[in-house]
């Protein structure tokens, strides 16, 4: 069994739906899941990850509402070709605030500013 993998930690404070959505979004943004590729059916993914069907179904629905997935009854979830929407000023401000919090946390843990900048640059450029 090869291909991109998903990992959930039931003991984590992060809700399971968010763990699945966040990891799938990273794979979608990075292109590891190409348009047209099918995701495992809800039942199969829920069984493998030892979570409730509704957890996976909700994660798929969230990604479908963001335009990443096409949910067709009986076909499961298929990755769609997605045009990147133009982010509003308010959304950009929100991301900026989240980044500031994350960078502050990294600085508080002793990571130098140059290293943080290099990491952010690498991540941003690594995503298509």
């Amino acid at each position: 069994m090869t291909g991109p993998t998903l990992r959930v930690d039931a003991s984590s404070a992060t809700p399971l739906v968010r763990q699945i959505v966040d990891q799938l979004r990273v794979l979608l943004v990075e292109g590891a899941l190409a348009p047209g590729s099918a995701l495992p059916p809800v039942r199969r993914l829920a069984t493998d990850l030892a979570v409730h069907f509704n957890t996976v179904a909700e994660a798929y629905r969230q990604l479908a509402s963001e335009g990443w997935l096409d949910l067709k009854h009986g076909r499961g979830a298929v990755v769609t070709e997605r045009e990147a929407p133009a982010a509003s000023k308010r959304e950009i401000t929100g991301y900026r605030q989240r980044l500031r919090e994350l960078v502050s946390q990294m600085r508080a843990q002793g990571i130098p500013a140059a290293r943080i900048a290099a990491e952010l640059k690498e991540i941003a450029e690594g995503i298509k």
Binding site: M1, D9, V51
Partner: protein, 330 residues
């Protein structure tokens, strides 16, 4: 050898098989589990580990001796059946007791599950061999249909200790095809179990494929047993009693041996199912887990997630099959 002695010996042998299987249970379980409790490496060799094993073996040894005495003393078929199942009942009780005692030693399993984002795998090719036992029963039914006039109008189906017939069946649809219908129901149910085992378990399970194979062997064993009975009682074949009893038993022992060998293969970590979802280390009830079959903690293979609504379909199927037994096997 008198028939009575032969029956006693068969009862003793069956009881000893059950005893050996129950005594071997802790050794057939993943090394990181002891009586359903996830324990640290090397715990089995520690004093609390060895103490738990000693108590469990004592729990089985006492009813085994009592059962053997009962078989030897009474020569009663009912006592024989009770004696055969006595070690199994003691094993369950001993297991649950030791599970409770070892809980304080349990290690916390990281509740992490991983999977590859790939589509569902098709059923292994050999699963379709599970249709052969059904064809075998259909073949026997066809043979009986074609030789209907050669079947005696009345034939013996049960014998007393001296080998004299004491129950008879008539040449009727129910009388002739009853065992085949019941065997067919059981076979179909086991075939459905094998398919459900494939789709209802996690793909990361190392024993997923071997367990499906074992279920198919059990299915074949059942089909041979129930296909053989109508041919034997109607006089078309004459299989010696010992072969009838020990033939299927050998097949079943072979399948169990295969499962034990598989369980001794190097395996990954145990399935990190939540500790609080295990009742006595035997019953798994987790409404938040979509799996129908999960790695069992009391031996090799899988157990059913009782919180999964499909588990009730399995129980209903099982009850329906067993309930039709007295109707078709009159």
């Amino acid at each position: 050898m008198t028939p009575r002695l032969a029956l006693t010996l068969i009862a003793v042998l069956a009881q000893l098989v059950v005893t050996v299987a129950t005594l071997a249970l802790p050794n057939m379980t993943h090394r990181d589990l002891l009586f359903g409790v996830p324990v640290p490496q090397g715990f089995r060799a520690s004093e609390p580990g060895r103490h738990a094993l000693r108590i469990y073996r004592t729990w089985i040894a006492i009813p085994t001796v009592i059962g053997l005495a009962g078989i030897a003393w009474w020569h009663n078929p009912l006592i024989n059946i009770v004696a055969i199942f006595l070690p199994a009942a003691a094993s369950v009780a001993g297991f649950v007791l030791q599970n409770r005692h070892l809980k304080p030693y349990a290690v916390e399993l990281p509740q992490v599950h991983r999977t590859a984002l790939v589509a569902e795998e098709p059923l292994p090719w050999f699963v379709w061999l599970g249709l052969l036992p059904l064809l075998l029963l259909a073949g026997v039914a066809t043979f009986l249909h074609q030789h209907w006039n050669q079947i005696p109008l009345r034939y013996p189906v049960h014998f007393d200790l001296n080998g004299n017939p004491n129950r008879w069946a008539d040449r009727t649809i129910r009388g002739v095809y009853g065992p085949l219908i019941f065997g067919g129901e059981l076979t179909l149910l086991l075939f459905a179990f094998a398919i459900a085992g494939w789709y209802g378990s996690r793909r990361s399970e190392p024993l997923r494929k071997p367990m499906v194979a074992v279920m198919l062997v059990v299915e074949l064993t059942v089909a041979i047993m129930f296909g053989e009975i109508p041919l034997q009682v109607t006089g078309f074949i004459h299989v010696p009693l010992l072969v009838m009893v020990f033939g299927p038993l050998l097949l079943a022992i072979g399948a169990i041996g295969y499962a034990i060998r598989q369980s001794n293969q190097p395996r990954g970590p145990i399935d990190p199912t939540p500790e609080e979802c295990w009742k006595g280390g035997i019953i798994y009830y987790n409404p938040n887990d979509a799996a129908l079959f999960v790695q069992r903690r009391d031996g090799v293979g899988y157990t059913i997630n009782m919180a999964n609504r499909w588990s009730w379909m399995i129980y209903v199927g099982l009850v329906l099959v067993l309930a039709t037994g007295p109707i078709v096997l009159h």
